[in-house]
């Protein structure tokens, strides 16, 4: 589904990703862990097409297409979803309007009929249950005045409604209390499907107790320095990141 080969990217003159290679197959959940500044979030944002980053080398193939050649909206329409680490506030646009606009753009791009507000409400109601929210949240402006936890929950709601084929969660668990974490994890687990894949970018192992990954990759200095199964996350939890960095340094 996703083939990342020797991906290099940076911002301005600073190279942040220094050759990332990663293969994600349908049905898999990959966790990307690593210390602050390792390039985890950059990788997530580059995959979504963030304009602040420039790709300087390598390739990314998604469903047989050159992902890096696609506009951010085209990526979304093809089923790529990034849950932002810092979701953006949009005062003046209701959550309902924004989400319906996104939902319909994606449907339109895929040759499906757009839904009117009433029909969309039906879709929405079921998804609100996933994140344990009341419909009132939909009349508030997008993320405006939301608490940190509410913003993250809103990302998961968007993901649940848009049903991406490839979901990328950028530190969605950071700053969440245990209840919010459970809701976020539940949203991700509900989306698990043999034809869908998830990349969970996280700093903490805690989330992986709820979202059990098939693979864990450790990013350091813009490279994947270690890959393994779920047990790698547990080892990181007990030993920290230093030992890996030492191991890499020694090699």
């Amino acid at each position: 589904m996703l083939e990342i080969k020797e991906l290099r990217a940076g911002a301005g003159d600073v190279e942040i990703l220094k050759g990332i290679t990663l293969s994600v197959k349908p049905g898999e959940v990959h966790a990307i862990m690593g210390p602050n500044g390792s390039g985890k979030s950059t990788l997530a944002q580059v995959l979504a097409g963030h304009p602040a980053y420039e790709v300087t080398g390598g390739s990314v193939t998604y469903m047989g297409q050159d992902l890096l050649d696609m506009e951010p909206e085209a990526r979304a329409q093809a089923g790529v979803f990034l849950a932002f680490q810092y979701p953006v506030e949009i005062p003046g646009v209701s959550n309902a309007y924004f989400l319906r606009a996104a939902y319909n753009e994606i449907r339109k791009a895929n040759g499906q009929e757009e839904l009117d507000p009433m029909d969309f409400l039906d879709v929405l109601e079921a998804k609100l249950k996933v994140v344990e929210w009341e419909p009132e949240i939909m009349s508030r402006a997008v993320n405006h005045g939301f608490s940190g936890g509410e913003k993250k929950r809103n990302e998961i709601l968007q993901m649940a409604v848009l049903e991406p084929r490839l979901a990328i969660l950028d530190e969605t668990d950071s700053g969440l209390d245990i209840d919010a974490l459970r809701i976020v994890a539940n949203g991700v687990n509900r989306l698990r499907h043999p034809e869908r894949a998830t990349i969970v970018v996280t700093h903490y192992q805690r989330l992986l107790n709820y979202i059990v990954p098939d693979y864990v990759h450790v990013l350091s200095g813009g490279r994947i320095v270690k890959s393994g199964g779920r047990e790698l996350a547990l080892e990181l939890e007990s030993r920290g990141y230093e030992w890996i960095e030492e191991e890499v340094g020694a090699a």
């Binding site: 506009e71 951010p72 924004f98 996104a102």
Partner: protein, 431 residues
């Protein structure tokens, strides 16, 4: 050309503009004043960013009478079709297109009829908006005759807004109208009044010089919406002068999207304690338009609150001007005044001059102001795109959101919805 107006004034005085005597005298004094001072120049601080040379050098003559059909007005009407409506075409009242029966002894009619009927108007008309303040006000007062008069007696609650619609036709090319409005909302009364300036000839060049005086009585609630949708080749100068009494609530929303050069002054005098004033404004400009908003609020008494938010969206090579004055007298303790002017620039050629001007002489007050000029947040654009919304649509959505934030402050839902529609319609034309 001043001479054109002097000449037209003599004709106007001889033809119905000469009575009653108190008004004839007022008009004459106003004309003398105008002839003496003439149009403002760039040296005038109040007009520094808004050159009125195109108005001063043209020879606008009174716009001719014209008839329009009810169908032609349809695009400018909104809300409930039963709303009281006063229609003026090229500055002249159109009784057959108007319908303004109000409950509880309230009145909405042509000002000319009110002048003929009600001698008590002498106490108000021209007493609040001083001709000394602006040459344009003097000029309007000299030709004062027609416009909307709304009177809501004490404790009367108007169930529906009154819409005063000023329409300009293609025949008004090169013409001028001086609409004069007077809104009196007495103690404990409640009213919503909409003032619309629209055109049936989007390319026509003409001049509208409007003055509105508003009285909001003790504990009265007044909502005032002003929609300026003139031709983008026209000139529009307007003054709204508001007098507020104790515990009254006045909220204003002004939309300015028309005019080659458009200027609106909103002056609010707080004449007693306990007053609340909300001033919201939105200007949407494109092409070569210049839209100027000047506001002034006079906190003369303690315990009054004023809240002001003006927003601008500027495209093309257009220009926006904002000047917001807040005066707080020494006795106006516990004043809470907040002023905000935010501008969104959509193109390299657009430009804004914004100037908050606070003069505070009391020491126990809360007064803040802020002005910003910026572009769309690219991270927000990316956020919308990452959800599948195409770039152009994302930009429109965020631009709409910027404007909608202030539109959503309008209390009355049908007015709010109409404003929403106008904003969306305009943004639909953006690249």
């Amino acid at each position: 050309m001043i001479e054109t107006y002097v000449r037209e004034f003599e004709a106007f005085s001889a033809n119905g503009g000469g009575s009653p005597a108190w008004l004839a005298e007022q008009r004459r004094a106003a004309m003398d004043r105008f002839a003496r001072v003439g149009f403002p120049t760039a040296k005038d601080e109040e007009w520094r960013f808004t050159p009125v040379t195109p108005i001063a050098q043209a020879s606008f003559t009174p716009a001719p009478a014209a008839t329009v059909t009810a169908d032609a007005l349809a695009p400018f009407l909104f809300g409930n079709p039963g709303w009281p409506l006063l229609v003026f075409v090229n500055g002249r009242y159109q009784a057959e297109l108007s319908s303004a029966a109000l409950p509880g002894g309230a009145v909405a009619e042509n000002l000319a009829a009110a002048i003929a009927r009600d001698p008590s108007l002498e106490a108000h008309l021209g007493r609040h908006a001083p001709v000394e303040e602006s040459a344009f006000t003097a000029l309007n007062t000299a030709f004062l005759r027609e416009g909307a008069f709304v009177h809501v007696p004490a404790r009367v609650v108007l169930p529906e807004p009154v819409h005063a619609l000023f329409v300009t036709t293609a025949g008004a090319e090169g013409g001028v109208a001086h609409p004069r409005n007077l809104f009196i909302v007495e103690r404990e009364a409640r009213a919503s009044i909409i003032e619309s300036y629209v055109t049936l000839a989007p390319g026509a060049s003409y001049f509208t010089n409007a003055v509105t005086e508003v009285l909001s009585g003790e504990n009265a609630w007044t909502e005032h919406t002003r929609l300026q949708r003139e031709s983008e080749s026209a000139y529009h100068v307007g003054l709204t002068h508001v007098e507020q009494e104790r515990d009254s609530h006045y909220r204003s929303f002004t939309l300015a999207m028309g005019g080659a050069i458009a200027r609106h002054n909103l002056h609010v005098r707080l004449n007693a304690p306990g007053i609340e004033t909300l001033m919201y404004g939105l200007y949407l400009t494109r092409g070569q338009q210049l839209v100027d908003n000047h506001t002034a609020i006079y906190h003369d008494h303690p315990n009054c609150n004023s809240w002001e938010v003006y927003k601008g969206v500027l495209d093309g090579r257009s220009r926006g001007v904002f000047n917001g004055k807040v005066f707080v007298k020494p006795e106006a303790q516990k004043t809470d005044a907040k002023q905000t002017n935010r501008n969104l620039i959509l193109s390299d050629g657009a430009r804004v001059d914004t100037k908050p001007q606070l003069e505070i002489f009391a020491d126990d007050v809360k007064c803040t102001h802020g002005a910003t000029i910026g572009r769309l947040d690219e991270v927000a654009v990316f956020y919308a795109r990452s959800r599948g919304i195409p770039a152009a649509e994302a930009r429109r959505l965020l631009t709409y959101a910027f404007a909608a934030e202030v539109v959503h402050e309008v209390a009355l839902a049908p007015v709010r919805e109409e404003l929403d529609r106008l904003v969306l319609e305009r943004l639909g034309t953006l690249a």
